[in-house]
């Protein structure tokens, strides 16, 4: 993946070889600017790669290949919460009656039933991201793409949102590619953690998490296995973070 930056080509990604298994929760961590967001945008079809291949195995052509949860506030301010959650379905031409049922189901799962008719400006930041998660789940995509969805909410809210995402995902397993800065978050949520290198980004290491499900965010963090996993992810990541700061020569 190359970009032009002031006439100089900027290689954002190089040799990203990654296979995501069906129904796997795959977390990608990497230093800032390593191209992980670009990688996700390519998967989402929002950018095109300059070279290389991308293959998404679509088993059911009636389902959309991807749905995305964005980092920033991305639910439409001009639609009510229920219209936002039903947006993807509406774009796919799902009949209003069917849509209503699916929307109600996911609103309930993320605890927004009481806010179905509210507009986003009446919601807190965490509630907006829950609506965004519900919107993505509602279209029943082959792959769910999440780009640091909880990065902009406060710590306590983030833990609650992680719990909630786990609960929704554990009953409705989809293939997820989840980007995050946080090692903790990657280990809490993921089946596998992929460490990306500093730019140009490539896959530096892959760690199988192997923690039992269903998981509980708070209990998990205090176990010795968790601490050991953090160290295993941090070890390859550390060098890359330092390098992206310019502290180490490449």
């Amino acid at each position: 993946m190359r970009f032009e930056l002031r006439g100089r080509p900027l290689v954002a990604l190089e040799d990203v070889n990654l296979q995501v298994r069906d129904r796997e929760f795959c977390c990608i961590v990497g230093p800032s600017g390593c191209g992980k967001s670009t990688f996700l945008r390519i998967l989402a079809g929002l950018e095109r790669q300059s070279a290389g291949e991308l293959e998404i195995d679509v088993r059911d052509p009636r389902r959309p290949a991807v749905a995305m949860v964005f980092q920033e506030q991305s639910i439409f301010p001009w639609m009510t919460v229920e219209d936002n959650v039903g947006y993807g379905l509406r774009m796919r031409g799902v009949h209003a009656n069917v849509r209503r049922g699916i929307v109600a189901h996911y609103l309930e799962k993320v605890g927004l039933t009481a806010f179905a008719r509210a507009y986003p400006h009446q919601l807190s930041g965490g509630m907006k991201q829950r609506a965004s998660v519900a919107r993505a789940f509602a279209t029943d995509p082959e792959i769910l793409l999440m780009d640091e969805p909880f990065a902009s909410v406060d710590e306590q809210t983030r833990s609650l949102l992680q719990e909630e995402l786990l609960r929704v995902w554990e009953t409705d397993r989809k293939t997820v590619v989840y980007i995050t800065h946080s090692i903790d978050e990657a280990l809490i949520l993921g089946d596998r953690v992929v460490v990306m290198s500093a730019r140009p980004g490539h896959v530096k290491a892959e760690i199988d998490v192997g923690l039992a499900r269903p998981r509980s965010v708070y209990e998990l963090k205090s176990t010795p296995e968790f601490a050991e996993l953090v160290a295993r992810v941090w070890e390859p990541l550390r060098r890359e973070v330092l390098m992206s700061y310019g502290a180490l020569a490449s």
Binding site: A44, F76, M79, Y87, M91, R92, Y119, Q122
Partner: protein, 271 residues
């Protein structure tokens, strides 16, 4: 240190003198005071009653004209023209504005022309419009439309350009087509700006219809005001001005209400 707060509430909520009730009384009294001063000075002969007839005389004339239906007729004529002219200008302005906002090519193609034509005072093209459309209704619609078109176009385009890119990304990832993007993202996303354009355009439309009627019409409020001036019936002129003021006041209240109804999400921040 030990801080104890038993109960706290912001001082403003306490009300009392200087509160909302006082504000309201002041804003009702101040115009009445002005009218009273005007009336008094007129009666005392301290201002020229030929130019500034006392409010009581204007009210009398206003009542007589309203009773005879003469004022009504001109008002309805002007309102009809301004509404039709407004629609002729606003609808293409809206559609083109959205297309301009969404497409770089269209923007590149239209920007120089819009940039050159927008600054021309629309009253300056009235002679040209009279040549093209004649002195009938056509030229009145045209002058109103010419003013409305650019304001709606520019504000709509700015509104669409100002839509957060992430909203368009959401549309793309969920498979929204061109038409769907137009109706579910571009229009609602730009609506607060579109409304700003509509308010500005409506104000200009009221100016332009009067200009058009003063110079080339035998009906409408512009004609009525100008004709009163030429026959030196100053009270009638003031009656015409009062109607213009009322039309402006009421129509902006209607626009406010319309905005509240069409842009219900505009609670927190502008989109």
């Amino acid at each position: 240190m030990n801080v104890k707060v038993r109960s706290a509430r912001p001082a403003r909520a306490l009300g009392g003198f200087g509160g909302i009730a006082t504000e309201r009384i002041v804003s009702i009294l101040s115009p009445l005071l002005l009218l009273g001063v005007w009336e008094g000075l007129g009666r005392l002969g301290m201002i020229d009653a030929r130019f500034f007839p006392p409010p009581s005389a204007i009210a009398e004339t206003f009542a007589r004209l309203a009773g005879s239906g003469e004022l009504w007729e001109h008002t309805v004529t002007s309102l009809g023209r301004v509404v039709i002219g407004f629609l002729i200008g606003a609808i293409p302005g809206l559609v083109l504005g959205i297309v301009m906002g969404l497409s770089r090519i269209v923007r590149a193609a239209l920007n120089p022309m819009v940039g050159a034509l927008y600054p021309i005072p629309k009253s300056a093209i009235l002679p040209l419009l009279l040549l093209v459309f004649g002195t009938g209704e056509g030229s009145k619609y045209a002058i109103v439309a010419s003013g409305v078109f650019f304001l709606v176009l520019l504000n709509t385009a700015a509104g669409v350009l100002g839509i957060e890119p992430v909203y368009l990304d959401v549309g793309r990832t969920f498979g929204a087509g061109r038409v769907q993007t137009f109706f579910t993202i571009a229009i609602p996303g730009a609506l607060p700006f579109i409304f700003t354009g509509i308010r500005l355009a409506w104000g200009i439309a009221l100016v332009l219809i009067v200009v058009g009627e003063i110079f080339a019409s035998r009906s409408g409020l512009g004609y009525f005001i100008n004709n009163s001036y030429q026959t030196f019936q100053v009270e009638k002129m003031y009656a015409g001005l009062i109607v213009m003021s009322l039309i402006g006041y009421v129509s902006f209240l209607v626009l406010d209400e319309l905005q509240r109804w069409l842009v219900p999400w505009r609670g927190a921040r502008a989109v």
